[in-house]
Symmetry: C2
Amino acid sequence: MPIPSDHSKPVRLSAKEAAYNQLQHWIIDGTLRPGEKLNDLEIAKALGVSRTPVRESLQLLETRGFVKMYPGKATQVTEVDPEAINDLLPPLAALQALSAETATPKLDADTARRLAEVNERFSEAVRSGNDEDAIRVDEDFHQIIVDTAENPYILAMVDNLQAHVRRQFFHDAIVLREQSVKEHEAIIEAMSAGDGERAAALMKTNWLSAIGELKATRTNES
Amino acid sequence: MPIPSDHSKPVRLSAKEAAYNQLQHWIIDGTLRPGEKLNDLEIAKALGVSRTPVRESLQLLETRGFVKMYPGKATQVTEVDPEAINDLLPPLAALQALSAETATPKLDADTARRLAEVNERFSEAVRSGNDEDAIRVDEDFHQIIVDTAENPYILAMVDNLQAHVRRQFFHDAIVLREQSVKEHEAIIEAMSAGDGERAAALMKTNWLSAIGELKATRTNES
DNA sequence: AAACATTTGTCCGTATGTATA
DNA sequence: ATATACATACGGACAAATGTT
């Protein structure tokens, strides 16, 4: 019988990685709140490890912009500025557009099918009003395109920007638009037709229009 | 007499930061060679500190793609793939183009003057064949534009991509083009005229044309 | 196959520096 | 201003994991 391979993936993750993942999730979903002071000893006890891996993970989180360390003074969770979405989306749109353009000539039939399928799931999530599912599936959709582009630099940068966008979402600074479903369809079509430029333009619009929508929503609410 | 203020800047840099800066420089300029194995204890002794700050700086360098850590096995300097410039320049071009577009409405007369002045220095460096100066001044030029855009996410990403481009330069995988001087002038003109779109397009071309030039050079050499 | 040598991962104690009384 | 409390930065030792003989 076939022996289940370990996928050669290190399922064994170090205390540092575990602490990193846990802390990032807590920061993104708001369990650790903006501005909250982080005591490494306290976190270490909570996670059942020593201060070293906690310290190391905090430093990694700092490079990604989730915590700010004031040497010798304190370490705290970064603030969530709703206006930051205006700084976040333009570069994300630019990189996603580039991803679409790069991925277009590399797109195979199977991947195109997966994109359509994921977009279908996205459509259902949006219609059913399950925002948390929707944003997750939306990320899956775009992740497929970024993966297809096969550019490690883009991958790393998008990953980080997405994490910040997700955090904004948990702080109610993001709206999901039903129109995105149609836009995704148009992107798939352009890529399948080999029109990278059009795919890039559509992708850019897909991301940037969230800004306008957001401002309109805020105006109505106020 | 005026007492020189500390600029409230931490001139006192930690052992971790010192180790980080030193190691990054050594990796970029080739002192630490691609694939070289890094023994943290050895580095610690060389820098006169303990393993802790060295380990921490190595982890930060890993997130930036300059070293790769194989948990429990080894830590080594990442390889330099000349082909990586093809993955590096497109996102850098996209982000620099976005910077130019964003910076355009924020450009004041003084900054425009500084851009022209730096470009003049760039021109001299290129003409005199001082490539090392030229790439440094070229970076200064683009840095002014990125700074003017005032987007912290773009700033961090460009900074890292630039560091990798600089490393490629030290491995002779980059050519400097006299034509860049003219392109810089056109960018300044477009920005001063308030035409952000044109500035972005010019900026994108400025960065991407280095790829074509590079391939032509390699073909001639081989 | 097992014990060894080496390197990394983790723990915890101490020193340094900062903020508060 | 001094002293006190406290959090972080660093050091050094132990433990775990890997590769080798």
